[in-house]
Symmetry: C2
Subunit: 242 residues, 2 copies
């Protein structure tokens, strides 16, 4: 089996899963994609993309925590990890979380209805954020693909300073940001994603991830553009690397 | 490892896990108990009962679906089933369901506060139900231990008729009951628990499980005692076995 995430959660790059799926299909290899970042946000056609297995999670698309899904193409055989009462046709024994599942379905409905106009809105805001930062902060770089990226993701590298220090400054000014993924945030290691992209550890440490959502406004983007250059400048003045 | 459930979900029998735990401890074998039916309902002292590992579930004690717990005695080494982001000290990778966990904790608090008086109340109602049924319905028997049983569980066998037929009749009269466990209810097989107790398949098919809860009233017990004898009599008249 080959498993490739549809879009990367840290740098926002949308992978060419259709082409990967095609190669797998031609060789009779099952293809799985983790669509946690894209399901309900980008159109996904499992037939056109040659996807055999797809996972997605409710809480990544404004649904409740406690429900996730696995799409299994007819004929694909999988083995259960959890055994017991035989729920879900024996594939996942465990009392089903009916309220969360109903909430998940409702969130899918809303995301599908709003997808087109919401993506237009997010891309406009995201690009305003990216252009503004690259223009107004010297030695700043965009991580991830410039065009093939999630509508809600912006990820930057600022030379000479650490992302963690930026986050603390922004937090005090009511701006929520992160350096890598939430899962690995307690580890204080440079992002394995950025290292895999070929970045040096010291550069990966200087990265900042800013994500947008359903309730992000143009005013808030303006605030970040107003506040961030000063924060970066202040930290660079204290930096031993500059 | 030895794993024995603290109390059986179908017949309500409370197992002698303290003695089983002692035997395991003496032989250096890990002892796990599934306390889904007892956690928050009966006092459990993991030291006195020699429990190394204990599982419990929020939705079995008026908490939300989507949260469960595993108690691990200090020094007991376990391997994870789910891998990924390294949540829960690497033991269960998965975004934590914070709202459900908070709700679980709250339900534990309430159950502990009410346990003593609630058990007194349930035992009184349960025993009224058991005595009334055994007295008023001929050829009726109690399944499970007469004394060492869950305060909220009553499980009967009625000769000559099927439990499924009783349930359908009761359902039409707004009385919710079951034959075996909810997990295996779609299977239409006789309960493996009753068969393991030494019951013949035809007798296991004639079993009915009535469970009480926080909102069960004495009036409702009276209603069941009034309605059930007639239902059993009616079904027996149609029975080919009588």
């Amino acid at each position: 089996m080959v498993s490739v995430m549809h879009a990367n959660n840290e740098i926002g790059t949308i992978n060419s899963i259709g082409e990967i799926g095609k190669i797998c299909r031609e060789r009779g290899i099952y293809f799985h994609t983790d669509a946690a970042q894209t399901f309900g946000k980008l159109p996904i056609d499992v037939n056109r993309l040659n996807i055999d297995l797809l996972t997605a999670s409710a809480h990544k698309m404004y649904g409740p925590k406690g429900a996730a899904m696995l799409y299994v193409r007819t004929g694909v055989k999988i083995k259960p990890l959890l055994h017991g009462g035989g729920h879900e046709n024996g594939l996942r024994s465990s009392t089903v979380n009916a309220p969360a599942i109903v909430g998940f379905a409702e969130s899918v409905k809303i995301c599908l209805q709003e997808m087109k106009q919401e993506n237009r809105r997010l891309i406009k805001l995201r690009d305003k954020l990216i252009k503004g930062i690259l223009k107004n902060i010297p030695d700043s770089y965009l991580n991830g693909h410039p065009a093939k990226r999630l509508p809600n993701n912006a990820n930057f590298r600022f030379a000479y300073i650490e992302g963690e220090a930026i986050i603390m400054q922004l937090d005090a000014l009511n701006i929520a940001a992160s350096t890598a993924s939430a899962c690995s945030s307690p580890k204080l290691q440079p992002s394995h994603v950025l290292l895999a992209c070929g970045m040096r550890p010291q550069d990966a440490h200087g990265s900042l991830r800013l994500t947008l959502g359903r309730w992000t406004t143009e005013r808030e983007i303006g605030q970040v553009l107003k506040i961030l250059p000063g924060v970066v400048e202040k930290l660079r003045k204290m930096s031993p690397f500059k």
